[in-house]
């Protein structure tokens, strides 16, 4: 047949395309289901990362040790933060001028401690 006079069979074209388009959904949906199943299995098999909050402390470490570790970690964190953010800046500590009430309170507290120690 002359290509110029050739006309497509629309019923065939539309039907086959619909089937094939949904075919892609089916292929990818099957793959999705397989991935979800394997993901579920792997998430069950893989131990949870990070220490459990309710579980026993890690072996070889008492509560004091862990507190000490946390303090060290906090100190390192602060040091890094200061190093990164304020390396060029002089360290500015908050300067508070105590009020008369605060001074008299501190004096009273020190006197009471002194008396307690003398006893």
């Amino acid at each position: 047949m002359d290509p110029q006079n050739w006309r497509p069979d629309w019923v065939f074209a539309i039907t086959t395309l619909l089937i094939r388009f949904f075919g892609i959904f089916i292929v990818l949906a099957i793959l999705q289901i397989c991935m979800q199943i394997s993901g579920y299995i792997f998430s069950r098999l893989t131990p949870k990362e990070g220490p459990s909050l309710e579980g026993p402390p890690p072996s070889g470490g008492s509560v004091e040790d862990r507190e000490e570790e946390q303090e060290i970690a906090a100190a390192i964190g602060v040091a890094l933060s200061l190093y990164r953010a304020e390396m060029d800046q002089p360290l500015k500590l908050p300067t508070v001028s105590p009020s008369e009430w605060a001074i008299s309170g501190r004096v009273a507290q020190l006197q009471s401690r002194l008396q307690r120690n003398w006893r």
């Binding site: 290509p3 110029q4 050739w6 006309r7 497509p8 629309w10 074209a13 539309i14 086959t16 395309l17 619909l18 094939r20 388009f21 075919g23 892609i24 959904f25 089916i26 292929v27 990818l28 949906a29 099957i30 793959l31 999705q32 397989c34 991935m35 979800q36 394997s38 993901g39 792997f42 998430s43 893989t46 990362e49």
Partner: protein, 396 residues
């Protein structure tokens, strides 16, 4: 005098038969040479590659290929008098016609790809399927061109339709198989529009989504173990080989590349596939595709129509992905941001980046990139599946 005449005749004979400038082809009935028009087209793509950096790795060799084969008498794409193939014809014949290069490129792409986002959120595979809508609608559009006097067969229509999948190697693979005479136009349209994804997609994305939808935040993806990543290419390759065997050469190589990467035991092979091998085949692919675009075959209404329909295809595929997410949201408890739907066309990773950028324009703290990588990778599998469906349609 006689000798002089002979010398002049000899020189004229040399000029006439061995130099190119007297051998231009002309437009039918008009004194317009065809080859210089192709030079302009070639220089345009070289400009896009060099000045604009649009897909330079491919548009540069393609542009140069177009440029150099469109000089008359160049012994590049034909046959020698003794029947031997000329240089670019060898690249084209053994690389593209034998379907070697697209499959090797898929090997490299597989070795470059991290399927983590897709494994963490397998729902996005469906988005990759929805984004193939344009492929099928364009197929019908191409067939309709027969009513305006431009003949396209079913095979031609399939090869043009696949452009919207935005996957260069798949487009080349399918076109080389079904409609090799359209290879140059199809490949060029696919790569040009892939490069223009940041220009083509955003208006459609804004048109089809509300600001509230664009602000939807998605839950952080779960971490994916290395075991899952190793298992994925085996599962995917096995399933695709079972369901769409026609596309196993492409997807098999893709998954082999990914398996080499994730297994971690063949780092040298993975590295070669990602870099050296990929670069080598990219050069040959670009030159081969460009070399198919000779003036006499390219300067017809068909390439112009292919470019127009390819753009339409991109629009519909982008819309298809977004609408698929919106339909899925009707049934999902945790809503997905419809912007990631546009990444269902497989221009990896450009389409995912576009989703991310449009999302951040609405909400600067919304990080969609990894979520969009899921549909983006699903788009690669979806486009390959569509190609497999077409191949099966014409070979069964």
């Amino acid at each position: 005098m006689m000798e002089n005449k002979t010398v002049i005749e000899l020189i004229w004979e040399i000029i006439k038969t061995q130099m190119g400038f007297l051998h231009f082809h002309y437009w039918e009935g008009l004194p317009i040479p065809l080859e210089p028009i192709m030079w302009v087209i070639a220089l345009f793509f070289i400009y896009l590659a060099v000045a604009k950096e649009y897909e330079p790795l491919l548009l540069l060799p393609i542009g140069f290929g177009i440029f150099i084969v469109n000089f008359p008498l160049t012994p590049l794409m034909g046959f020698d008098p003794d029947g031997k193939r000329q240089l670019f014809n060898i690249f084209y014949h053994y690389g593209v016609e034998w379907e070697v290069i697209p499959c090797v490129i898929f090997l490299g792409l597989g070795a470059m790809t991290d399927f983590g986002p897709l494994i963490a959120n397998p729902k996005t595979l469906i988005v990759g399927a929805g984004a193939q809508l344009g492929v099928f609608i364009t197929f019908l559009g191409v067939l309709a061109c027969n009513y305006i006097g431009i003949h396209f067969s079913y095979k031609d229509a399939a090869s043009v339709g696949i452009i919207g999948g935005a996957d260069g190697p798949t487009t080349i693979y399918l076109t080389a198989k079904l409609a090799p005479h359209l290879l140059g136009a199809n490949a060029l349209a696919a790569y040009s529009y892939m490069a223009m994804v940041p220009l083509i997609q955003p208006p459609i994305m804004r048109m089809l989504t509300t600001p509230e939808e664009r602000r939807i935040r998605m839950r952080q993806l779960r971490p994916v173990s290395q075991r899952e990543k190793i298992l994925f290419p085996l599962i995917a390759a096995g399933l695709i080989a079972l369901l769409v065997p026609a596309v196993t050469p492409l997807m098999g190589m893709f998954m082999l590349g990914n398996f080499m990467r994730e297994s971690g035991v063949v780092k040298r092979l993975s590295d070669t596939a990602q870099h050296a091998l990929m670069n080598i085949v990219t050069i040959f692919l670009g030159i081969s595709v460009g070399a198919t675009m000779q003036a006499t075959t390219f300067l017809t209404p068909k390439p112009l129509l292919i470019f127009t329909l390819g753009l339409f295809d991109f629009f519909v595929c982008t819309a298809g992905g977004i609408l698929t997410v919106k339909v899925m949201n009707l049934f999902l408890r945790e809503k997905m941001n419809p912007l990631i739907g546009s990444a269902g066309v497989s221009a990896v990773p450009m389409a995912a980046r576009v989703s991310h950028l449009i999302g951040r324009q609405e909400d600067p703290d919304n990080w969609l990139l990894m979520h969009a990588m899921g549909p983006n990778l699903a788009g690669v599998i979806g486009t390959a599946s569509a190609a497999g469906m077409f191949i099966a349609m014409f070979t069964s």
